[in-house]
């Protein structure tokens, strides 16, 4: 099915199952520990041997020699894989550094060997016996120092590196009120709870990988390219994924080395990254330096807006596209955005939840708070005044498909009690706490991706959905069941959903918050095809046939859907492909975050007291899991604001705090009640589901709302994330802190 004209009324609009809050259908398996994750496939690959990855001890340079003898003769060791034994390897199109390093080392903790043994304990110990001689080379590890050498990156998924409209410099120069500030965000780690893990087994020249990966088709392609074998010799199975957040978008070392290890050992091998390896071995979100200039009139109406971003990555890598939202969020005739990319020899930078916007809004939405203060306009009102209903770079000929930004701001403010905020900072005290409120816009591009599915029905009316779509905690199982149930008029209990298997039709996968909308739209297409088959079998004209209550009905004639499918059952497969509606219309999701913090008047400890937000993201397919996505993302925003930072050792070129005791993410005690309002919205240009993504929207702007609340509480304006105690104390002079 090609989606190239706006959706009209369709069976999803009935809203009997889709759009209704449902418990997750995979819930009972998850809460009983019976959902199998990648390292737990005793059922599928019994007697798997254990692989342990050895990571490079240097960040840049080369391996001079590897002495494997001690490890080889250690108890239980079955095989050792290194660059010398692995055979010729290619590299996946989506990997920047090689997944198996050597002799050239591209980053710290890059995998250089896999030790395979008969037990986990033996593998882990033997791995310590490898003797590796390195010749380290001087590397580049300091973004600020390399900023001057940054270049224009090639166009990537975020669009062109630079955009402009009008004349920014002139417009900014003549503005009555100016904000011109620089902001920095640090390297961050996905820190999903399940480490990257894979169980691999060869059957002749065919490879099966039970792995933890967000994008099944990418994994197949990149594994084929790396192993130099045909794609049809590779099967990826990933039904349950213990969190990804972008960290499992790509083929990683666990998968490659499990495959190589299973080949070397002649039996199934399983490999999980050890937690302390994850931050340096895998990908991370790149640090940024951002300069934002906003020129406005005295009423806060923006005339000129400029956003420049510097980030770094390994040679061949890509930029953090943090100016993305600035192209679309606010009005202004004179505009400029620019991304510059420096080469760094730190571990590979890549996508993490809402790449671009998540850190772009950390900066932009402080800048807007600064503009609000400079103009004396309330921060909510300032954003309302600068709303624009079309792509401000392209002009009115490219309207938004739907944009309920102003409604989000108004309703969110009302629910939160924003009117009680005291605009003057440092005025509200509750015991030892300085109390402040802050807000920020939420914005995330609405991406779509072609997505396929097949759907079958048996003689009892039981429906089976198969697609290589993944559920990384997002709720894919449930929304796909809802979609099939709605389309075929059966109860959700009558639907079985099978995901994460490359034997199933290719889907959009889970990334860029495009998964839910795209994958359900793909299933919608398959269901339309199945409905046509069923209607044809009933002898009904498809466009007049109604599917409900387990019946296929035309007027007062009806047949049970199972009976129509017959003993042999009936299958249909299709996919959704998206046409130029994404070019004709700017498509995005919107929201407004509100936050109340307390800041200890003496110690500057920050505690989030309340959070709330209003969001418009098209049809909300399952309000229950969608809310969970949003509060989870808001919490990641709190982490970004208050604690998350990979500390770079600029001498050795690695992330120092590479475990969960030192890389802090929010815990229960950090997070209070979180209120989420979804606005009623149907976006008919987005897909037949009229839905958009929501899994990333919640992080976009959340951290800036925290930052602005801290400012309101204390009068301290920090522009260097995370906003930790040391930075607050450094600016206590003249603030409300004691």
């Amino acid at each position: 099915m090609k989606f190239d004209t706006p959706a009209t009324t369709n069976p999803i609009d009935r809203g009997r199952v889709v759009g209704v809050a449902h418990d997750r259908i995979d819930g009972p398996a998850k809460v009983t520990g019976t959902a199998p994750y990648a390292y737990e496939r005793h059922d599928a690959a019994p007697q798997a041997a254990y692989g342990w990855i050895v990571g490079s001890a240097i960040a840049k340079g080369k391996i001079d020699a590897m002495d494997l003898r001690a490890a080889q003769s250690a108890p239980g060791v079955l095989a050792i894989v290194t660059h010398q034994t692995a055979g010729p390897l290619g590299k996946g199109a989506r990997n920047t550094a090689h997944l198996l390093g050597g002799p050239i080392i591209e980053h710290y903790d890059q995998a250089v060997a896999l030790v395979i043994a008969d037990s986990f304990e033996n593998a882990r110990d033997a791995a310590r016996l490898l003797r590796i001689d390195y010749s380290p080379e001087k590397g580049r590890y300091d973004l600020a120092a390399e900023r001057g050498h940054a270049t224009v990156p090639k166009e990537g998924f975020g669009g062109p590196a630079d955009t402009a409209a009008g004349n920014f410099e002139a417009g900014f120069a003549k503005a009555a009120v100016k904000v011109d500030q620089s902001y920095t965000t640090p390297d961050q780690s996905h820190a999903m709870m399940e480490p990257h893990a894979t169980t691999a087994a060869w059957d002749g020249d065919s490879l099966t990988l039970w792995t933890s990966n967000q994008m099944v088709a990418w994994a197949v392609e990149d594994m084929a390219a790396t192993l130099k074998i045909p794609k049809d010799k590779i099967r990826i199975v990933t039904p349950y994924i213990g969190g990804g957040f972008g960290g499992k978008l790509f083929l990683r070392a666990d998968a490659l080395l499990a495959a190589l290890g299973a080949r070397a050992a002649g039996r199934p091998v399983k490999v999980a990254l050890a937690r302390p390896q994850i931050p340096n071995n895998t990908t991370h979100r790149a640090a940024t330096i951002q300069r934002i200039r906003i020129g406005a009139d005295r009423d806060g109406i923006i005339g000129a807006i400029g956003h420049e971003v510097w980030s770094g990555d390994l040679p061949g890598g890509g930029p953090e596209v943090a100016a993305q939202q600035t192209r679309l969020l606010y009005r202004g005739t004179d505009r400029l955005t620019a991304h510059r990319l420096a080469e760094l020899d730190l571990p590979e930078a890549n996508a993490m939840r809402a790449p671009g916007e998540a850190v772009g809004l950390l900066a932009l939405e402080i800048a807007m708070d600064e503009l609000a203060e400079a103009t004396g306009v309330d921060p909510v009102e300032l954003r309302i005044r600068n709303d624009v209903q079309y792509d401000p770079e392209a002009g009115p000929q490219r309207p938004f498909s739907s944009r309920k930004f102003v409604e989000c701001l108004r309703q969110g403010a009302e629910r939160f009690g924003w009117e009680r905020r005291v605009p003057q900072p440092g005025q509200v005290r509750d015991g030892r706490w300085l109390v402040g409120m802050g807000m920020a816009a939420a914005f995330r591009n609405n991406l779509v991706a072609k997505s396929g599915a097949r759907v079958g029905i048996d003689g009892r009316g039981h429906v089976v959905v198969e697609t290589d779509m993944t559920d990384i905690g997002t709720g894919s199982y449930t929304i796909l069941a809802q979609t099939a149930a709605e389309m075929l008029g059966v109860p959700i209990e009558a639907v079985t959903v099978r995901l994460g298997d490359s034997l199933f039709p290719k889907s959009a996968g889970s990334g860029g918050q495009f998964g839910a909308n795209s994958a359900t739209a793909g299933l919608y297409a398959a269901c339309v095809a199945l409905r046509e088959k069923l209607a044809a079998k009933a002898g009904f004209p498809a466009n007049q046939t109604v599917f409900e209550d387990g019946l296929v009905r035309l007027g007062n004639q009806s047949q049970p859907i199972g009976a129509l499918a017959g003993e042999e059952g009936m299958w249909a497969e299709d996919r959704i492909e998206f046409g130029k509606l994404t070019q004709d219309y700017a498509q995005a999701t919107f929201g407004a975050h509100f936050c109340e913090v307390g800041v200890d008047v003496d110690t500057a400890e920050v505690r989030v007291r309340r959070m709330g937000g209003a969001f418009a993201a098209g049809r909300i397919l399952n309000p229950k899991s969608a809310r969970s996505q949003v509060i989870g993302a808001m919490t990641m925003g709190v982490g970004a604001a208050l604690m998350e930072e990979l500390h770079v050792d600029k001498r050795f070129g690695f992330f120092v705090n590479h475990d969960m005791a030192e890389y802090l993410v929010p815990v229960h005690a950090d997070i209070p009640e979180q209120d989420v309002l979804f606005l009623d919205e149907l976006d008919d240009k987005s897909s037949p589901m009229k839905a958009k993504g929501v899994g990333e929207l919640g992080i976009c702007g959340a951290g800036a709302a925290v930052a602005n609340a801290i400012y309101n509480a204390t009068g301290i304006r920090l522009r260097d994330y995370p906003l930790t105690i040391d930075k607050l104390l450094a600016q206590r002079e003249g603030s409300a802190l004691a």
Binding site: F652, V656, L664
Partner: protein, 316 residues
């Protein structure tokens, strides 16, 4: 984790005898196993001392409290006498780690837990504590969480315990038995050692010497406060912590965590209480040698003390 043999000691005598031929005691295991997995600790023999009946808390004849070495952190924090008479100890314990860890971690083990310095934890990095003579990776590296006082050029690692800070302010004594059966009581002030040129030697214990109990002197009365400041609300090590007892007769005592290689207490700081938080901080940090990354801890010590004085005044 290097291979080791394992035995379960049935008595204290049994345990120290086993240790005399080269073995390490394992109690809760929450720190030792963590480090063994990384081969930072590589004992060849483990002696399980969980079954020595060292898990009792009892009053001493003098009116103090003897805490068995194997008393779990949870049990100690919840003990009625501790809650009533040594509240600073309850508070410190409850500020540390997580419920799960406190259920395993023992009184003796907590005293012996090793630093959280990231260079100590990454065996590819230089660290004089882990590998004497290899240098200190932290001194010119990531040092934000590390010690500012009591350090040396060889090591700036911090002691991570909360419990030990409260023990220090209470003037606890560490009771031990050596392999030859000799028993001694080591004042906690002397128990932990500063790094100097030998940061790998962290305490007074001799090889094979077993902690059997920790004894608290008679209750001090007064107001007990433990204030811990960290980068998140729970389940994190201290940037700075302060254990304080205000005895009600104008006497005060302070011990500090997160800032030194051992629970930090300076007599001059106790004496400065009347002059206020700033004076206490100044006395406590008289010889501080922070790095650029952790210099903020000096101010944070003062701020935490200010907060703590406020907290105390807010209470009757």
């Amino acid at each position: 984790m290097k291979p080791f043999t394992y035995s379960r000691a049935a008595s204290v005598e049994d345990a120290v005898a086993a240790a005399s031929s080269g073995g390490r005691f394992i109690a809760g295991g929450t720190n030792l196993l963590d480090l063994m997995k990384l081969q930072i600790e590589t004992p060849s023999h483990l002696i399980d001392v969980n079954h020595l009946e060292l898990d009792r808390i009892e009053r001493t004849p003098e009116g103090g409290l003897r805490i068995g070495a194997m008393v779990r952190n949870t049990a100690l924090a919840a003990h009625p006498d501790v809650r009533r008479d040594y509240a600073v100890l309850s508070r410190a314990l409850l500020a540390g780690a997580s419920g799960q860890l406190r259920n395993k971690a023992t009184t003796a083990g907590n005293l012996l837990q090793r630093t959280r310095c990231p260079y100590f934890y990454d065996t590819r990095m230089p660290c004089n504590k882990r590998k004497p003579g290899s240098g200190c990776g932290a001194l010119k590296g990531g040092s934000r969480s590390l010690a500012i006082v009591g350090t040396s050029d060889a090591c700036i690692a911090q002691h991570p315990s909360d419990m030990a800070v409260a023990m220090r302010v209470l003037d606890a004594a560490v009771d031990t038995v050596a392999a030859d059966g000799t028993r001694r009581s080591i004042p906690i002030a002397d128990f932990h050692l500063l790094p100097g040129d030998t940061p790998h030697i962290e305490n007074q214990l001799k090889p094979g010497e077993l902690i059997t109990s920790v004894t608290l002197p008679n209750p001090l009365g007064g107001t007990h406060v433990y204030r811990k400041v960290r980068d998140r609300s729970s389940y994190a090590f201290a940037l700075v912590s302060v254990a304080a007892v205000f005895d009600g007769q104008g006497g005060s005592r302070f011990a500090f965590g997160g800032i030194a290689p051992k629970p930090w207490r300076v007599a001059a700081a106790d004496a400065a209480a009347a002059a206020g938080a700033g004076a206490v901080a100044q006395a406590a940090l008289a010889d501080a040698r922070p790095t650029a990354q952790n210099a903020f801890k000096q101010q944070l010590v003062a701020s935490t003390l200010t907060s703590l004085f406020r907290q105390k005044e807010a209470r009757p």
